[in-house]
């Protein structure tokens, strides 16, 4: 196969790991089917990654994806024709697959590897551990490719021009918000629209603010509904979000526009002239929706959504999302593929092509394609707490339903306690 980076050529890659892996695995003639969420550009990047796997092992990899991958994987596993390896971004769905016995445990060795090699390793192990069909918890998934969500995007030149500083604390961020208003500008662009998934960007806000106002344990309890949704802690976080989103002066177009503006369109306000807003909270993927030719790091940049100075005990929490690989059919090739993911090269190849973050400490940071990526990688590595997107951890009916709807109602005018109570009711209904 065509390898994007010639082995041995660029020193930033850990070629040794590739050679080692190659030596340990000879599976010539076997095939491996991988079902993943990546399509379009992402797919090309991923193909470049597994090309190394094929090169090393001789396994022929067949990758496929689908617009309805959620539905597809359910159908395929139920019908008994699953792929060998599935990569999915939804822990909730994975939990379900595990509980129905469609997944193969990855074993203690992998668990230990994660603990040792991933930053905030315990967080990752917890995330990837699910109850199997037999009721015993085990590691079923391997986190690979992470998105950081605790990012605020801005245009440095606009900041410079207006004389604004990147805030280091949440208090500063709030002060900056008010200052922009005082200067006659609009601070935020917030768009929750996403067709059938409208509302999800707000859940990221709430989760981020939850991590900044509550302990990670509370967060965990929240996503497992061990504390009710209408617990004061949660209501508080929702109201924090409301402070930003429900103030007509703070958001472009006023609070009414928030729910209906498409999330893909909303960052464009940053680049308008005059600027429609100065700040935009969104995950690391958003630059693909910036106007063509925008150079991240120059024309646009981001900063870490800061924690409250008043709550130092919470450290630097990072909210993220990501994809997890799992074995849906236990073959030597699929085992080998998981092993492959443990090599630095599997991470570095993608890092070097952009839009890939990893908490893997063994991967060379220098491999990141550009400054901003590296900076995000550092945010990830510097995090004291990493928490996966809560709405993805909740049952689908809540995390991809009631929570979204609730947030829309919330920006539409409903009060936080009412909204939270409604969501809790929905949660009760599915128990």
């Amino acid at each position: 196969a065509d390898l994007k980076f010639k082995p041995g050529e660029d020193a930033k890659f850990n070629w040794q790991s590739f050679e080692d892996f190659k030596k340990g695995h000879d599976l010539k003639g076997q095939t491996l089917t991988i079902f993943g969420p990546w399509r379009g550009e992402d797919e090309t990047l991923f193909r470049a990654v597994f090309a190394y796997f094929s090169e090393a092992t001789g396994v022929e990899v067949k990758y496929s994806s689908s617009e309805n991958y959620e539905q597809q994987i359910v159908i395929d596993t139920q019908a008994g024709s699953p792929p060998d390896v599935a990569i999915l971004p939804q822990p909730g769905l994975i939990a379900d697959l595990a509980s129905k016995g469609y997944l193969t445990p990855l074993g203690d060795e992998t668990q230990k590897w994660l603990l040792d090699n991933y930053a905030a390793g315990q967080s990752w192990v917890d995330l990837s551990t699910f109850k199997g069909k037999d009721g015993n918890a085990a590691l079923y998934a391997f986190p690979y490719k992470i998105d950081v969500k605790s990012l605020v995007w801005y245009v440095p030149e606009n900041f410079e021009d207006a004389g604004y500083e990147v805030p280091k604390t949440m208090e500063d961020l709030k002060a900056l918000t008010e200052k922009i208003v005082a200067d006659g500008g609009t601070p935020w662009c917030i768009g929750l629209g996403s067709g059938g998934a409208t509302g999800w960007p707000a859940t990221d806000w709430v989760e981020d603010l939850m991590l900044r106002t509550q302990s990670p344990e509370t967060y965990d309890k929240w996503v497992k509904n061990e504390i009710p949704f209408n617990d004061a802690a949660v209501v508080g976080a929702i109201d924090e979000f409301g402070w930003f989103a429900k103030n007509d002066k703070f958001v472009d177009g006023g609070a009414a526009a928030v729910a209906s503006t498409d999330f893909r369109d909303s960052p464009k306000g940053l680049f308008a002239s005059p600027p429609k807003c100065y700040l935009h909270h969104q995950a690391s993927f958003i630059p693909s929706f910036f106007p063509e030719g925008t150079v991240v790091g120059e024309d646009a940049d981001f900063f870490y959504m800061p924690p409250y100075a008043s709550k130092p005990e919470l450290g630097n929490p990072v909210l993220g999302a990501g994809t997890l690989a799992m074995i849906t059919r236990d073959t030597p090739a699929s085992r080998a593929f998981i092993e492959f993911l443990k090599t630095p090269i599997a991470h570095e190849v993608w890092m070097a092509q952009s839009s890939f973050l990893t908490p893997f400490k063994g991967a060379n940071k220098e491999a990141y394609a550009n400054g901003p990526m590296k900076k995000q990688g550092e945010i990830l590595l510097d995090s004291t707490t990493f928490r996966f997107d809560g709405s993805d951890l909740m049952p689908g009916k809540i995390g991809a339903g009631a929570f979204w709807t609730g947030m829309i109602d919330f920006v539409g005018g409903k009060s936080a306690p009412d909204v939270a109570e409604g969501i809790q009711k929905a949660w009760d209904a599915i128990k």
């Binding site: 992402d42 395929d76 139920q78 019908a79 002239s273 063509e292």
Partner: protein, 381 residues
């Protein structure tokens, strides 16, 4: 044809059809125009404005200080904000909050003793008494009247995508037999239900109506299980073209049988009787009389069945697989969209590329929806 003068009524007809057509095509026209625009404009102005010259606030960037030349002791950067366009600049500024601070053609003081002049044609000149520093050029905000601008890039991108040709063939391989086979099967069944007496006919018709409602999604898992079972038993792959044809046939049959039966039941009884007296068997009657006379219904159904199979993604994904070799056109295009489905410009272009084949089918089959097929056959009520 009935002799008619240009009565006012026919004008009303023309106008109302025009109105309906306009209503129906307006959204699509929007999509078509959008597919020809570039993606940044999509989100900021309505598609209908794409046809007119619009005044827009734009941001440009002067060449980087590397490009400065020394002239008369001053450092000068020149260039043009508008590459190859015919836009006209009317005002400019250097601060984002005041993008229209200066009239075009005037010289603006931009601090540090530097001055900036922007002309109507977009050419600019930065003059500085000292050597300019930095790696990035000065941002220039300007207001320009932009003439309509269209691009075929979106189409180019879609058409150049890898494997699109193979997917096209895959789609045809799925759609053509998946259109013809169910029509044949359904036509025979419809004839039996319409003209061959046997016990339980009415019930059977009702059951078929009832089956129209079975949600596709319900069937996928049991069917795929079955396919896997059959595949394993015979040692053949579970996901084959035959499998997907049959699946499309199964899902399309209720409607086909229902539509065709209804049509066939309306054919004049005397024709069938006359053929029967001529010694024709049911099979002869079906093939030689019913089929030719049912052309309008067959053609209508063919159009729909082709449409569905052509535009289908779900069934193809499940029964044909998602690998590169078997990916159908819709699947290929959806994959182009990227993981977050944001690339509207590709969506718009691909929507128009996929629409072409069904429209050809529609156009070529439309002439079978003919008038007076039965004319001259019988007399009476």
């Amino acid at each position: 044809m009935i002799a008619t003068s240009r009565s006012p009524l026919i004008i009303v007809v023309h106008l109302s059809v025009l109105l309906l057509v306009a209503l129906w095509t307006l959204p699509t026209a929007g999509l078509l125009i959008s597919s020809l625009r570039d993606k940044d404009q999509l989100a900021v102005s309505g598609w209908w404005t794409a046809l007119s010259t619009s005044s827009q606030n734009l941001t440009g960037r002067a060449a980087s200080p590397d490009a400065q030349v020394e002239k008369d002791g001053k450092f000068v950067i020149t260039g043009n904000l508008i590459e190859g366009g015919t836009s006209k600049v009317s005002a400019f500024g250097v601060r984002p909050m005041q993008p229209t601070a200066f009239e075009v053609g005037t010289t603006a003081d931009i601090g540090d003793g530097q001055t900036l002049t922007v002309n109507e044609d977009g050419s600019y000149e930065i003059v500085s008494p000292t050597r300019m520093e930095g790696t990035r050029g000065q941002r220039i905000f300007y207001t320009a009247s932009v003439p309509p601008r269209f691009t075929l890039d979106n189409y180019r991108e879609v058409l150049n995508a890898e494997g699109i040709g193979a997917s096209f063939i895959n789609s045809l391989t799925v759609a053509i037999p998946a259109t013809i086979i169910p029509i044949l099967v359904a036509a025979f069944c419809a004839y039996a239900l319409a003209w061959m007496p046997f016990p339980g006919r009415a019930i059977l018709i009702a059951v078929i109506v009832g089956l129209l409602v079975v949600p596709l999604q319900m069937s996928l898992i049991p069917l795929l299980k079955l396919y896997n079972g059959v595949g394993a038993f015979f040692g053949v792959p579970a996901k084959t073209y035959v499998g997907i044809w049959l699946a499309h046939m199964g899902f399309g049959l209720p409607l086909a049988v229902y539509l065709l039966r209804n049509y066939m039941a309306g054919l004049p009884r005397e024709i069938m009787e006359s053929a029967r007296v001529d010694g024709a068997s049911d099979f002869d009657i079906f093939v030689k009389i019913i089929l030719p006379l049912s052309f309008p219904a067959l053609a209508s159904f063919a159009i729909f069945q082709f449409l569905w199979t052509w535009n289908d993604l779900l069934v193809a994904m499940v029964f044909l697989g998602t690998g590169n070799n078997e990916l159908v056109l819709t699947g290929r295009l959806v994959n182009l969209l990227g993981s977050r489905g944001g690339n509207w410009e590709i969506l718009t272009a691909s929507a128009f590329i996929t629409i072409i084949v069904p429209l050809i089918v529609f156009f070529s089959l439309q002439r079978y929806l003919v008038r007076g097929l039965l004319a001259g056959s019988v007399k009476g009520g």
